[in-house]
Subunit: 499 residues, 2 copies
């Protein structure tokens, strides 16, 4: 924990690895940058997040239906959506070190002393990059033995550099200028070939977002259901982006999973403004209902001038991660740009027919888009807690019971009393029919509680000698560490209510 | 329905499209061969299959844990597993038509009349390919005006052809010989590049199976859990195979999903034989418990000489699909081949340490592997039913309630009586908190039943005037069409018990 009471990324990564939430992909082969594997507890947490979203956003709403489209789609989908043309990041190479950087994450500034330019410094985007740059500038000044006071450094991204600056900016790898290339666009879609021929006609892409799979099925959904505007189509699925610099653990990886909604509405500015505002509220309430700390959630509207040309508005819900306050979910008002594009490119009529007014039109859309992995990371960061119990420091995950991988830990007081074990096994079988529960007979009870606390199990029950007399058990609550004596009916009710 | 009372593939495909279970991927762009999108009902059915498998095979068993590894892994994984070297199908090209065939699905035979070879015929694998070949042979005989009786045609796969035959076998596309190439191996893994450089060092593959993701995490699972042999690691996830001839709807597609288990056991032949037999039973019972018609399930052990060199045994559970009896699930005994390979290639010690005996060894493994899409197709084929009710033919899906996309249809008797609608809405809200249910007020009750029957909804309740008096509803059972009068507590109990 740092001074603000926040957990560090090191603590999260370490817990994830130690307790089997998340591993680096292909670890035994040295790892693969930007790819992750979810272990026994991670996959349960992940599934619980996805199921809670699906239950709350799709199944419990009459105005929503689900979809599961393929990861590889026809390449014309990405032509129409604009991804082939424009889905790229600016990158820059260092010719000497062969290192590669995002040109919008590499910053540089001229070093100026009393009006004279001594040279340039460069730094990689970081919370303290200004300080790093100043240090480098002072070093350069000392090296050149220049007197006088340094002017304030104005850092700018390399993506906005001018050609005459390219040879002057030092490479972050070598510290020397002259080896950086011009910034260039790098398409983030993974490319492959479908069929036996590896030619231009067989090129296909791994989808960089699930959203387009929804738009291309808009007609199919209209034709196979009786759903009427306003309505949404929701999808959970993997997406892939060949990030130049994947970073911050699972926050920005190359293979990730999205939970996306396209919510279709009638035309008109008032209509989309209202729907957009409602979805921001709906999504924020949902994030809070999953146990994310409301104090760590913020909203940020994209400034009008930074929106894509077709977008009406976009508001991000940000979360205060250990590495900074960053986008968790985006809620965009996209007009009817995507349906228009697919209608034009496919030559198919994708219009909605309003049976009451008789109008035919391409609906506008609101797009709330959340990453499963980012959500999972935010959940872990929010849940990570420490306190002191009985004079001993305790580390625990304050996970919402709906999301907890294991709902109940079941312990016989000691493992060498057959009557206790038998009773505990009986209760285990009973609870296991309804929930994912865990039986543990080994070690002191206190240690067993700690093991369950560390992975966020909200309840533990202990079967002791009194149980043999009156069937009651001790129900222990994770967050308060309070223990209550009750019968199994009571346990079933408490757990059933919470999860 | 055909004479044997079996549904045709046309009927299944048509139902899937009409009611929103399954669409061809990228349909508005002419479709993409071998890829499919699951619509609003399809995604629910798919999720229910996956959740039932996960619940029964992972969560309710203490000897199993889950995993979710990345689709793209380090390329050395596929080197070690043997997929780069050997995961290929034989293919053959027609130089004239540019058509491409699986060389093991293209059959040919010499046409012999009284000892004299007139030429060759070729056919694509099909249930009546022998008849097709005979027709072609007779045609050739007539064309050449040869008298005498045709000798029996002995079809053999082109994959086993000899070089001198290549120029003689007619292309299925042109009907003329001389244009077929030699058969050659075609690797089925989709290839892509990770990182900005498209060179040999950046090559990566979309996994052709989920199993290897389990083996490479074997050590991680041992280190992060306290699980002991025998135990299994289970995974559900997408896999990709660049099939030369995808076919039979979702049965053999290029993008599909697997539910795989690697069940690790101690060494010894007796051990694996016993575990293998148990898993065949466990998996077969599970398939039947999901409502698959037991009469349509068969077991087939691979003959010893056809096993991969490392495999001890493999038994397929076959299902009687409309296009033939084909593999649904494979249950392989793979020895410790995979762990040995990954241990050798990674240089990491993957041995299990038995704390009781002190032994260290690489465990053997039993691998039950089921495709989600194949399972879904088998479920639909098994469930598709017709009968006659009140003199009218009815088409319905006899889905197990656990798998049914919608559990209950809720109907007010008429939609223009506010009291009925209000009551029906109240009951809808109540049921909707627990299950995926559907409110429908439009059309005659009989038609509403039929719409629910067609998509396999096991229960419908109707709210009528009597409901307003005594709160009771009519609960109607899909398969029997029997209607019962009961209170909502009774409905909750019946549905809760079934799903």
């Amino acid at each position: 924990m740092d001074k603000a009471g926040q957990v560090s990324m090191e603590a999260i990564v370490s817990l994830c690895r130690r307790r089997g939430f998340i591993f680096q992909s292909s670890e035994i082969y040295g790892g693969l940058n930007g790819f992750f594997d979810y272990g026994p507890l991670g996959v349960e947490l992940r599934n619980n997040i996805k199921q809670a979203w699906w239950r709350d956003m799709v199944q419990s709403r009459e105005d929503m239906v689900g979809l599961d489209s393929s990861i590889i789609a026809h390449p014309r989908v990405w032509k129409a959506s604009g991804h082939i043309e424009g889905f790229s990041d600016p990158m820059v190479d260092c010719r000497v070190s062969k290192m590669r950087y995002r040109a919008d994450q590499l910053f540089f500034a001229p070093v100026v002393v009393e009006g004279r330019v001594l040279g340039y410094v460069s730094v990689l985007e970081d919370v303290d990059m200004q300080a790093q740059a100043e240090e480098a500038a002072n070093k350069l000044k000392r090296k050149l033995a220049v007197q006088g006071s340094l002017e304030a450094l104005v850092l700018q991204p390399y993506a906005e550099s001018r050609p005459e600056q390219w040879a002057l900016v030092p490479s972050p790898a070598t510290g020397e200028p002259g080896s950086l290339t011009a910034p260039r666009a790098f398409n983030l879609m993974f490319e492959t070939h479908v069929g036996a021929l590896q030619d231009a006609a067989s090129v296909a892409y791994l989808r960089p977002e699930t959203a387009q799979g929804i738009f291309i099925n808009f007609r199919n959904v209209l034709d196979s259901t009786r759903i009427k505007l306003p309505f949404g189509i929701a999808q959970i699925g993997k997406a892939f982006r060949n990030e130049i610099t994947p970073r911050n653990f699972i926050f920005r990886s190359r293979e990730f999973e999205q939970m996306e909604i396209e919510y279709f509405i009638p035309l008109g500015e008032e209509t989309w403004r209202k729907a957009h505002a409602e979805w921001i509220q709906t999504r924020r309430r949902w994030l809070e209902s999953m146990g994310l700390d409301p104090k760590r959630l913020k909203e940020q509207a994209h400034p009008q001038e930074k929106l894509a040309h077709y977008a009406c508005a976009c508001t991000d819900i940000l979360f205060d991660f250990p590495f900074g306050t960053q986008e968790l979910e985006g809620i965009a008002a996209r007009g009817n740009y995507d349906l228009t594009q697919h209608s034009t490119h496919s030559g198919k009529n994708l219009e909605y027919h309003d049976e009451v007014t008789g109008e035919r039109f391409l609906p506008q859309v609101i797009e709330p888009s959340l990453g499963v992995d980012r959500m999972l990371l935010a959940v872990l960061c929010s849940a990570y807690s420490t306190d002191v119990i009985d004079g001993e420091e305790r580390q625990f995950l304050r996970l919402h019971p709906r999301l907890a991988p294991i709902k109940v830990g079941i312990f016989p007081l000691v493992k060498n009393k057959p009557e206790l074990v038998q009773k505990a096994r009986e209760y285990y079988e009973r609870l296991n029919r309804r929930w994912n529960v865990f039986y543990d007979a080994s070690g002191a009870i206190g240690r067993r509680y700690r093991r369950m606390d560390e992975i966020g199990t909200p309840f533990c029950i202990t079967i002791d000698y009194q149980t043999l007399e009156d069937q009651s058990v001790t129900l222990r609550h994770r967050d308060s560490a309070v223990q209550q004596r009750m019968g199994m009916e009571g346990v079933m009710a408490v757990v059933g209510e919470a999860v």
